[in-house]
């Protein structure tokens, strides 16, 4: 029993990262219909930037994260304005190609400016908490709490604020939103700013828990889309549930079956869910 609970704790931290990645993807996809493949690379950029600010510029970690989040939001706005807006009314394949090109550009940028070696963001959080045989490393606790706080903040923003309502309105019916006086030119920029900030937060978590290196972002975005499908396309609660299910499933699979098939087993679970609920766990039929 202890082992199962420990594996669940192990899976919650990585599940939290998946949730943040998937949330960023799902709001972009749900509102703009764009499969934003560059999201993983942008997340890694956020992690690299935080590492650069902490390890090479000597900034405190919290300040470095705050700067990275702001830079991420600006980057998100620029991506929307310069990359996706020009092809918004074109065929979907154009946005798809832009997304792929953007991925290569951001990966190349990361490689050029931050190098090919893996980096680990130093946090100094090395304490370990024990609860009746269960251990919870301080860093994983921060990641779980950080992810939970961002999920709650995101939910409150979308559900309770006027901007959030406007975002939902655009997602529901763009034409009706225009008639209601919503500035639909502004909404995509806000969505990309939020999405990229969430991605940056995920990048920081990956970079401190594990490591950032070329190629890590691509793997992360694949997992993010898997969560999207598992939870239901465009569904915020679906991204939360899907991310946690995927993270915990991976940990249980690695612990009880084989780590060699960790990814395969996670995707088998995803396919299994979709067989019974094609719309995903929380998607609307």
């Amino acid at each position: 029993m202890i082992e199962i609970l420990q594996q669940i704790i192990n899976g919650l931290a990585i599940g939290g990262v998946y949730v943040l990645i998937a949330l960023g993807l799902t709001i972009v996809f749900g509102i703009l219909g764009i499969a934003h493949f560059a999201h993983g690379s942008v997340s890694m950029f956020g992690g690299y930037l935080t590492f650069f600010l902490v390890a090479q510029q000597g900034l405190p970690l919290t300040l470095a994260i705050a700067i990275a989040l702001v830079v991420g939001m600006v980057l998100g706005v620029l991506i929307e304005l310069l990359a996706y807006r020009p092809v918004r009314n074109a065929n979907h394949i154009n946005a798809f190609i832009v997304a792929l090109g953007l991925t290569m550009m951001v990966e190349g940028f990361n490689l050029q400016f931050f190098g090919a070696e893996q980096v680990v963001i130093p946090t100094g959080a090395t304490r370990v908490f024990n609860f009746g045989g269960l251990t919870l490393p301080e860093l994983r606790l921060y990641v779980i709490l950080g992810a939970a706080a961002l999920i709650v903040a995101m939910t409150i923003f979308v559900e309770k604020t006027k901007t959030g309502q406007a975002i939902r309105a655009v997602a529901e019916n763009r034409d009706a939103a225009i008639l209601m006086g919503i500035n639909v030119q502004m909404i995509p920029m806000i969505v990309f700013a939020i999405s990229t900030a969430l991605g940056v937060a995920a990048g920081v978590m990956v970079g401190s828990l594990f490591a950032i290196a070329p190629g890590v972002g691509e793997g992360l975005v694949v997992k993010g889309f898997a969560v999207l499908i598992l939870g239901g396309l465009g569904s915020i609660p679906g991204a939360v549930v899907g991310g946690i299910v995927l993270g915990v499933t991976e940990a249980l699979a690695a612990g009880f079956i084989s780590s060699a098939y960790k990814d395969v087993i996670a995707f088998v679970v995803m396919i299994g869910v979709l067989l019974f609920r094609p719309q995903g766990l929380m998607g609307r039929a």
Binding site: E3, N10, T126, L209, F256, S259
Partner: protein, 405 residues
């Protein structure tokens, strides 16, 4: 005024004379190639090797180059990134041979890529000098134009198994990159000797080279309550395994086979998380286990590249010096067969950094394999400390290697 002009003219003339003298002393350029992992997960081994070859080449040039009859060769190094990938390595070596006309290829940190090149190198007019790649089969194929400076993994694994059994452990759990054959062969030899010593390996948990979260496997191992943990794999995943074992509250002796430097481990884990970890590996470069050449190598490398050399990087440095002496002994830089034969007949060069154990008085045995002693290193207060030599019998292993296909 006239005096100044005369002085200037004299200085210029002297400089010209010196330059022409230098040109005469190094009137040929011998291009050597390096194929190694400069990017990706294996760059922790490959990049220091590439640096080491470059440094050795510069030192050879500064020391007067390679003397062959009346000719003196200076070395020029061409480096390609093989990403530790068999296809990339094949392409890199093909470019070196076919496009750059290179006859001597050094580097080779990693077994998969090295094995791919070894499969065709015997048909080429070239000599391949393998460094850190530890897969045994590389020197069991009777490839006449291939030599390797690092001993095979199982040569070290057997010594490690005997050592861990001597520590009194009975139940050891293994966590490692066991899908990579040379790590598997290390564990196989470890297990054979450990079992002989009365122990049992109770778990064989696997991680992939790209994995960074080993907590599920470690949780499973923790539940089995082993006496000790053995971690085998590349530095980065191994460092995460050590860090996460502490995070899971595993208070048991930890042994490993990684050959990572202090800096490489400290990028991932704190010194406290590493405290007490053993690395059971060939007696590679550490300040406690090296002689004067090793100390000089460490100093020169650190000054030149701004970072301490990785423990395994001298395998490549020694390749360059072995090649220099072999070419001089063969009396030719063009006849690769003669140079390959001279390598097998070479005594250990005085410039070698690793402390090789000769077989029949030679650096390489008839299989082209060199041997170092094996050692037990322990992490103490932020440093790898050389604790003791592990039992090593290169003559017996060489005889065993000769029996394999």
């Amino acid at each position: 005024m006239t005096g100044k002009i005369f002085l200037k003219g004299s200085v210029a003339g002297l400089a010209a004379l010196m330059m022409s003298g230098a040109a005469m002393a190094a009137d040929e350029v011998l291009t050597i190639g390096v194929a190694d992992a400069l990017t990706g997960g294996a760059a922790v081994y490959g990049l220091p090797q590439a640096n080491a070859v470059q440094m050795a080449a510069d030192e050879i040039n500064q020391a007067g180059g390679i003397k062959v009859g009346d000719d003196t060769y200076s070395l020029d190094v061409v480096v390609y990134d093989d990403k530790a990938n068999p296809t990339e390595a094949t392409n890199a070596v093909r470019k070196l041979i076919d496009r750059d006309g290179v006859k001597y290829i050094l580097g080779f940190c990693c077994s998969g890529a090295t094995g791919a090149v070894a499969s065709f190198i015997e048909y080429e007019d070239a000599v391949m000098l393998v460094g850190n790649a530890a897969e045994r089969s590389i020197t069991t194929r009777e490839i006449g134009n291939l030599v390797r400076t690092r001993p095979p993994a199982d040569y070290t694994g057997a010594a490690a198994g005997a050592f861990v059994a001597q520590q009194g452990h009975k139940r050891v759990a293994v966590l490692g990159a066991l899908e990579i054959s040379f790590y598997a062969s290390y564990v196989e030899a470890f297990e054979r000797e450990f079992t002989k010593g009365g122990g049992e390996v109770i778990a064989h948990e696997v991680f992939a080279s790209k994995d960074r979260d080993m907590s599920p496997q470690l949780t499973k191992i923790r539940e089995m309550e082993p006496d000790a943990l053995l971690v085998v794999g590349y530095v980065e995943p191994a460092a995460f395994a050590y860090r996460q074992s502490v995070e899971l509250g595993m208070d048991i002796p930890r042994y490993g086979f990684t050959s990572g430097s202090e800096e490489q481990f400290l990028r991932v884990a704190s010194s406290e998380q590493m405290e007490g970890v053993w690395d059971l590996r060939p007696t590679e470069l550490t300040l406690q286990s090296t002689g004067e050449t090793g100390l000089a190598y460490h100093k020169n490398y650190s000054e030149r590249f701004g970072i301490a050399p990785s423990p395994s990087s001298p395998y490549a440095y020694d390749q360059a010096w072995a090649l220099k002496h072999a070419i001089e002994a063969a009396g030719t830089a063009d006849d690769t067969e003669a140079v390959a034969a001279a390598l097998r007949d070479l005594e250990i060069p005085s410039e070698a950094v690793m402390q090789y154990l000769p077989v029949n008085g030679k650096m390489f045995d008839e299989n082209g394999q060199a041997y170092t002693a094996n050692g037990a290193f322990q992490w103490q207060d932020g440093h790898w400390v050389y604790v003791q030599e592990l039992p090593s019998d290169p003559e017996a292993y060489s005889a065993f290697l000769s029996t394999l296909d």
